[in-house]
């Protein structure tokens, strides 16, 4: 009986400890060492002022001082009808050439 009570007390204590640890904060990042950044860009005031026009970065919490949250995609990453068509065309050309190559091997 006494052992049972002791176990119950221990279990209850464990629950309290577990719940209080959870309620405070999770333990994160344990064992992860800092890795030096290979490339670092300093965010200048000029960059912040022009954040609205920046197609590569999201520099302020709401995108820019205007807070429109409107991101102007950089041309190289913007997927347009034209770029889609170009990629599809390239894929078709490549597929066609590969099929020609394959048929030449089997011939």
């Amino acid at each position: 009986m006494a052992v049972n009570n002791m176990l119950k007390t221990l279990a209850a204590t464990g629950l309290v400890v577990a719940s209080s640890a959870y309620a405070q904060e999770p333990i994160a990042g344990a064992g992860i060492k800092a890795t030096p950044m290979s490339k670092f860009t300093n965010v200048s005031q000029a960059m912040l002022n022009n954040a609205t026009k920046d197609g590569k970065n999201w520099l302020l919490p709401n995108g820019s001082y205007d807070q429109t949250r409107h991101h102007r995609y950089h041309k190289s990453t913007l997927v347009t009808c034209q770029s889609c068509a170009r990629r599809l065309y390239s894929r078709r050309v490549l597929l066609s050439r590969w099929r020609q190559h394959r048929s030449s091997l089997t011939a």
Binding site: Q24, E25, P26, A28, G29, I32, A34, T35, P36, M37, F40, N42, V43, S44, Q45, L48, N49, L59, L60, P61, N62, Y65, D66, Q67, T68, R69, H70
Partner: protein, 332 residues
């Protein structure tokens, strides 16, 4: 890319590969009262530094490259109900941050700190010591009568005085917008304390439920516009303001500032003086406005969670369209 998580962790990760560079964990003080949950809305970044507000009402500056703590300062006393979950902003060497705690009897503010030293540059209190009773507005921003008993309010103010400004609330939850051309900071002010019981706080309760403009260099007041005076419904202003060119009443394009309210309207202001140019049709049901709280309970739609709540609006300047997420939720 810099990411914050609950309980004030900051992670620096490679945005292409997901590789983690460093991780900073803020040591939160023993006493911390906060609403609503231990969330954090992000960091500000400038000139090799990061800035984060913490649950225990501190502002920390980190080396953006290494995550090393550069400086830390207490914004306000967390034991008095102050806490931070908003993302600060940084402009022209000043870090701008408001405060949570409107539910816990704080006196709200926006503060500016020197980005290099952490030294306080200025404080703008969202509850003025004098004049918080305002103009005894009878109508809301859309012109509808709010059924206030203004005679009783005036009598209560005359009898009890206006000392309640010290605990009237007026938190600033969201990142301010900044017009760097005119050195102006725009922010919205949240709910009152107590938020649903108005007898202890007669008057308009300025600048709660308002959009406010102050000077970036000094924090001096420029203008304000209040949407709901003497709010007893928790229909405060909490969605980040947006700077965008708008048409004035004569159809001329001018610099404007817009805000999506818990009331379900988008309000369009002249950025230079705060004048309300127009407001949108309601985006959610509006039934029984303005029903006053009763002991038995009375149903009203709008609800305290919005309309437009914390979810930021967005604007596509090319299409000239504003987008707002709303919540349809009556309250009793």
């Amino acid at each position: 890319m810099f990411v914050t998580t609950s309980y004030n962790h900051v992670y620096a990760i490679n945005a292409v590969t997901g590789e983690q560079y460093w991780h900073y964990k803020h040591k939160i003080g023993p006493v911390s009262t906060y609403c609503c949950g231990p969330n954090n809305k992000g960091v500000a970044v400038s000139e090799g530094k990061l800035f984060m507000g913490t649950l225990d009402a501190k502002l920390v500056s980190l080396d953006a490259k290494t995550g090393k703590l550069l400086w830390e300062t207490e914004i306000a006393d967390p034991e008095l109900g102050y806490s931070e979950t908003m993302a600060p902003s940084v402009a022209n060497g000043k870090v701008l941050i408001g405060t949570n705690g409107g539910e816990y009897g704080v006196r709200g503010f926006v503060k500016a700190y020197d980005a290099n030293s952490g030294k306080l540059a200025w404080t703008f209190h969202t509850i003025p010591e004098k004049g918080h009773e305002g103009v005894w507005a009878e109508n809301d921003a859309t012109g509808r009568n709010m059924k206030r008993d203004i005679a009783a309010e005036k009598a209560a103010l005359a009898k009890g005085g206006g000392d309640f400004y010290k605990t009237l609330g007026g938190g600033v939850w969201m990142t301010p917008a900044v017009d760097v051309k005119t050195n102006t900071v725009f922010f919205v002010v949240g709910n009152l304390s107590p938020d649903l019981y108005g007898a202890e706080r007669p008057g308009d309760n300025l600048y709660t439920d308002s959009i406010v403009a102050v000077d970036l260099n000094t924090g001096n007041y420029k203008w304000h516009y209040q949407y709901v005076a003497h709010d007893v419904w928790d229909l405060d202003a909490v969605s980040p303001p947006i700077l965008v060119d708008v048409k004035d009443k004569n159809g001329k394009m001018i610099p404007g500032v817009i805000h999506g309210g818990k009331t379900g309207h988008i309000y369009v202001h002249d950025r230079s003086n705060g004048n309300l140019i127009r407001f949108s049709e309601p985006m959610v049901s509006q039934e029984g406005l303005w029903t006053l709280p009763t002991k038995q309970g009375a149903r009203m739609s709008l609800g305290a969670n919005g309309g437009v709540e914390w979810s930021p609006m967005a604007v596509n300047p090319g299409l000239r369209l504003a987008y707002a997420v709303n919540l349809e939720q009556p309250m009793t």
